[in-house]
């Protein structure tokens, strides 16, 4: 599968009330199926860029396309829908609803997305069965599948979060520092597991971190500072 997954062209973004733009990116593309590491120090506008791509906040028109949708033209509701259907999001930590089981947390991804439900149905009519498969694939033990999320270790929680992001095969997974709460062993292991799963589902992965040492895992690694002229101009 080819095509552009994320396409930034002359993206300018500034928070209301700010004196100068936080983001000013002439060009940045991510192809479908690509696995890209985006590195940036904290405060470099990483989170803002991610919230634009994920459709939480809206850019101006014709500046950002995600899966061929001009994010500047979509309404809040349409962006929420696009995110529900096509974007899996993994947080740094606290990804899960603590009162739901691991399996229920994973199937939550399909709750707000008819498209994901449809795609899961093609694989298996029983959503929880498919959620279990994904969890096992990501290295969770059978015994942990039906435990409430708050009883799981941080490493296990991140795997559940990855499984949720993958559930229903969205086109894009955004991982916002998913390994920063993990120690080195778990970190490499988690990245490996995530890679395999993305490859298997042909999912694009945008992996954001401040930790440059992870770059060797990725086929492509980008420094946010290098593409963001707002920061360059400032320096």
């Amino acid at each position: 599968m080819t095509g552009t997954c994320i396409e930034l062209k002359n993206l300018e973004f500034q928070w209301p009330g700010a004196t100068r733009p936080l983001l000013s990116i002439p060009q940045f593309n991510v192809q479908q199926g690509e696995r890209v590491l985006l590195r940036g120090a904290s405060g470099s506008g990483k989170s803002t860029l991610l919230s634009l791509i994920a459709g939480i906040h809206a850019p101006a028109k014709n500046q950002l396309h995600v899966l061929e949708h001009d994010m500047g033209k979509l309404s809040q509701r349409q962006r929420d829908k696009l995110r529900a259907n096509e974007i899996g999001y993994i947080f740094q930590q606290f990804n899960l609803l603590p009162y739901l089981t691991a399996v229920a947390n994973v199937s939550l991804a399909a709750k707000f997305s008819p498209a994901r439900r449809r795609r899961v149905n093609e694989i298996s009519p029983h959503h929880s069965e498919h959620a279990k498969e994904l969890l096992l694939q990501l290295g969770l033990d059978k015994g942990d599948l039906s435990r409430p999320a708050h009883q799981l270790s941080v490493g296990q929680q991140q795997r559940v979060a990855a499984a949720r992001a993958l559930f229903g095969s969205p086109a894009l997974i955004i991982a916002d520092e998913p390994t920063s709460a993990l120690d080195a062993d778990h970190r490499d292991n988690f990245i490996q597991v995530l890679f395999n799963a993305c490859q298997q589902h042909n999912t694009t992965l945008l992996f954001v971190t401040h930790d440059g040492s992870l770059a060797h895992h990725f086929e492509r690694s980008i420094e946010l500072n290098e593409i963001n002229q707002a920061t360059l101009g400032h320096i």
Binding site: I56, D80, F91, F94, N95, L97, A104, L108, F112
Partner: protein
């Protein structure tokens, strides 16, 4: 979304249950007050039917009504045998039931009357009294029991019991020397009739004739004055508490009431039961309104408790909201989630409140009846009660917009940033 709201509530079990409990108790109170109000009115209205006038010594209308028919409170004045004779002789009087009160059998009042009582007294929708067992009085030493008395005291036909002087509870002057034999037991009526013991006037006369020298009876028999008897035989008792009159034609009542009220022989009061009841309701109206206002405020407190619980939960749930946003839940969904939670809390609370009401009526109804004389029936919810419940849930719905709006705004502002 309902499932999610449920799961989230279960995660906050303690506060959710407390909120539900507060709503349940306030619902119970509101329903209880309404039910007591409604059913008491109904019971009162059902207690007497077909009696056109109640006559007693000069006293308040309400007092006469309450003591003669409902056995609530005592009449301090009595009317004389002479007056009773006079009343009987009035034109248009179809039937007359004399009533002498003042004695009791345990907590049950003893009503001395004539056999006419069983023949002419009507309750509810002009229903006559029916004997479940046995029959009316045979002689002065027999008694008829109300259904509740027979059941509670486990008395059967032919059993003997003694009554005591004074109304209710412990008395120091028991009429032990004059036991009464049960000659009949009445069918249940759901009125104060069930709660009373009926003895013939002659029986009361014998009991009190025996104790006439007792100093405690001096007052009662003080106006034992020398009257000229129209009848050849001695009257069974000299004084009565009240006389119930049935008239041959209803419109006579108004004129007769005036005639009796201006009777020269003795100061008398005649009341029409229906009008006296209306008067009583008017007196109680303010009290009822106050009760209803208090219970409405209690409901408001319960709902405000829910509002507090939901609002304070929002801060610790920002993470939860961010996760929901990440999987594609829109702000509207977040809004709906909060509203569903409030509705779940309110509905479960109201449901438990209803359950508690019926439980209390079922389990404690008898105790309530025995201790307060309030008869509550486990009838289905009335339209008024349903509308109260709907109002509670509607109020909960409207109140929930506050935390829901807060959460909506938070969801928009926070986005995927997790603020802990």
């Amino acid at each position: 979304m309902i499932r999610l709201a449920l799961a989230s509530l279960l995660n906050r079990k303690a506060s959710a249950w407390l909120t539900i409990l507060a709503i349940a108790v306030s619902t119970l109170l509101l329903l209880g007050v309404e039910r007591v109000r409604h059913q008491t009115q109904e019971n009162f209205a059902n207690t007497i039917s077909g009696t056109d006038l109640i006559v007693g010594a000069r006293t308040g209308n309400t007092q006469l009504l309450l003591s003669s028919v409902f056995h609530i409170g005592a009449l301090s004045n009595t009317l004389s045998w002479q007056s009773y004779q006079h009343l009987q002789g009035l034109r248009g009087v179809a039937w007359h039931i004399p009533i002498a009160l003042g004695d009791s059998f345990g907590e049950f009042p003893v009503v001395a009357t004539s056999t006419d009582f069983f023949e002419y007294f009507r309750y509810a929708d002009r229903q006559a009294l029916i004997f479940a067992q046995g029959d009316s009085f045979d002689d002065a030493q027999t008694a008829v029991l109300g259904a509740e008395v027979a059941k509670r005291r486990q008395l059967k036909l032919g059993d003997k019991f003694t009554i005591s002087h004074g109304s209710g509870g412990i008395s120091f002057s028991d009429h032990d020397a004059h036991p009464f034999k049960v000659s009949g037991i009445l069918e249940r009526t759901g009125t104060p009739v069930d709660q009373a013991v009926y003895i013939p006037l002659s029986g009361l006369g014998q009991v009190h004739g025996e104790s006439v020298r007792d100093t405690t009876h001096e007052n009662e028999h003080a106006h034992d004055h020398e009257h000229t008897h129209e009848h050849s035989h001695e009257p069974p008792v000299y004084t009565f508490s009240a006389v119930l009159l049935g008239l041959s034609s209803r419109p006579l009542a108004l004129r007769m009431q005036r005639d009796i009220n201006t009777y020269q022989g003795e100061p008398l009061t005649a009341i029409m039961p229906g009008m006296a009841l209306t008067e009583l309701w008017r007196t109680l109206n303010l009290f009822e309104k106050a009760l209803l206002a208090v219970s409405t405020l209690v409901v408001a407190t319960g709902l405000l408790g829910m509002l507090t619980a939901l609002l304070s939960s929002l801060r610790e749930r920002r993470r939860e909201m961010a996760v929901l946003r990440a999987v594609g839940a829109g702000p509207v969904t977040i809004f709906g989630l909060l509203v569903s939670e409030a509705l779940i809390l309110a509905m479960v609370g109201v449901g438990i409140g209803i359950g508690m009401l019926y439980l209390i009526i079922g389990v404690g109804g008898d105790a309530l009846l025995a201790n307060t004389g309030i008869l509550l029936r486990a009838t289905p919810l009335t339209t008024t009660e349903w509308s109260f419940l709907a109002a509670i849930i509607l109020a909960a719905l409207i109140l929930s917009f506050i935390p829901a709006w807060r959460a909506y705004r938070n969801a928009l502002a926070d986005g995927l940033t997790i603020r802990v």
